[in-house]
Structures are given as C-alpha cells and as structure tokens.
Symmetry: D2
C-alpha cells in the first residue's frame, strides 16, 4: 500500500461509514437488541471522528501552513477558523 | 402524526444521517473547502450521538426496568451491560 | 485491599484529580511547553470522565433499580433524570 | 481589566476548576445525590475542555505559526505534534 491517495482513502472510509449507518437502520428494522445496535453506533461515531481528524490534519498541513507563511490578516483569519472547527469537533 | 412511532422516528433519523455521510463524500469528491466538510462531519456526529442517546433511553425504560423488576443475576447482568454501553458512548 | 469502599475510592480519585489540576496550573506558571500541558489536561479530563462513569454505574444500580421496582411515576421520573445526566455526560 | 493577560486568565480558570473538583469531593463526602454530583462533574469537564481549547489556540498562533514559517522538518514535526494533541483531546 505505497502511495495511497489521501482523497481516495477518505472516500473509501466515508463509503464504509455510510454502509455502517445503513446497517444500523437495518438492525433497527429487524428489532435487533438495543445494546448491539448501540455498539454499532459507537463504532460509526469513532469512524466519523477519525475522518474528521484526518481532514483536520490535512487542512492544517496545507491551508493553515500557507496562511502562516502569508502572515497578516490571512493568517489570523485561518487560525480562528481552524480553532473554531477544532472546538466544534471536541464538543461534538 | 401525533404519537410518532419511536422505531419509525429512529429510521427516519438514520436515513437522514446516511444522506449526510453521502453528502460529505460528495463534498470530498468535489474538493470542497476542508472547514466546510468538517462542519458537516461534526453535524453528522452530533446526529449519531442523538440516535445513541435515544436508543439508550429506550433500552433503559424497557429492558433495564424489566431486569430491575426481575432482580437477581438478570438485574446485575443487564446493569453491567448498560453501563458498559454508556462508557463506550461517552468515550466515542 | 479487598472490599474497597466505593465512596473512599471515589474520594481518592477526586483528590488525585485535584492534584492533577494544581499541577497543570503550576506548569502554566512555569511556562512549560503547551503540548505537555495539553497532555496533562487530557489525562485529567479522562480521569474526571472515569469518575462520572463510576458515579453513574453506582446510581443506576441503587436509585434507578429501586425506582424501577417501585414503578409508576417514581420510575418514570428517575429514568428521565438518569438519561438527562447521561446526555450531559456524553456531550461534555 | 481590559487587556487581560492570557496566562493570568488561564491560571484563574484552573484555580476555579481545582475548587470545583474539591467541591465535588465534598459532595461525595456529604453523600449528596448522585445526579447532582454528576452535574458538577460535567461542569468541571466542560471547564477543563475550554482550558484545553484555549491552550491549543494559543499554541497554534505561536509555536505552530513559527514552525510553519521556518518550514522543513521543524514544520512537519510541529504539525504532527499538534494533530496528535488534538486527537487526544477529541478522544478524551
């Protein structure tokens, strides 16, 4: 697995999460045991969180670094935007 | 539609989350701005969390109450199972 | 240490967290490196979360079981109170 | 008190959290109602989270911006360190 495309990797993970959520709906339809459904919901949440952390790392290493190098208002605006996104993530 | 069916309500919410995740994949494909994608990921996470809390409340008011009324080992096993699920949820 | 008193155990853990928070303040005063301070804040958060999960498990196995066995309005009120506390915990 | 010193502000918040944790221990000693104790634990967790987000924003606007401007290995190392700290925070 050399040279995985980060965008392709992200899409694979998102399609897997979409499948997980569809599977959870099927478990609800089939009246599966609540605790088993909850286990799947926790797994999907963790997978979404991993996607978010990947997106954030990618954003910081590109947009944020560019803005830091540009300096000035651009830097301040991008920093505020990134820390706001991190706060939403931590609180979600 | 007063007296909404909790199972139907859960399915509607899960199908909406599935659509949200599909929308996030589309944003990634279209190279949308990272921060806008992250906002949608946070929204989907919160929606999944709300589903989990709903499932848990439902589980507690049925299975857990039944087990508490039965008492004995059944009660202890169901309590342990529920607190483990809550711990996974809090940590996810 | 067989038969640890749950209340005593909780107090020991809370005093340790109090010490962790005091240590974090000292690191801030001494201008320690942000990332090292953040690591300690994450550790204190996880310790507080463990205390919360312990308190909740204890509450469910006593008050909630009693209320489930009593039934009626008492049961419904205690269930609502517990699920609200779980929701606050999951969201904090 | 215009122009508050960020370090001083952080110390004030940490001393307040230390007091909150001490208050929680006192509630446990006095056998206060679990749900009321849990409410205070959630409040202390949120306060710690706010401290973490403040520290992180401060770190990003100083160390991370400096490293981005320096470029090279320094930049890559600081980015990895920051994203690891964010991941610990999101998961705690």
């Amino acid at each position: 697995m050399t040279d995985t495309d980060p965008k392709q990797d992200l899409l694979v993970r998102l399609h897997r999460i979409e499948g997980q959520v569809r599977g959870i709906a099927r478990m609800v339809e089939d009246d599966k045991y609540c605790i088993d459904i909850l286990t799947q919901v926790s797994a999907a949440s963790r997978a979404l969180q991993a996607v978010a952390l990947g997106l954030l790392a990618d954003h910081m290493s590109h947009c944020l670094v560019d803005a830091a190098q540009a300096g000035g208002q651009e830097k301040d605006a991008k920093l505020k935007e990134a820390t706001d996104a991190i706060a939403r993530l931590v609180r979600s």
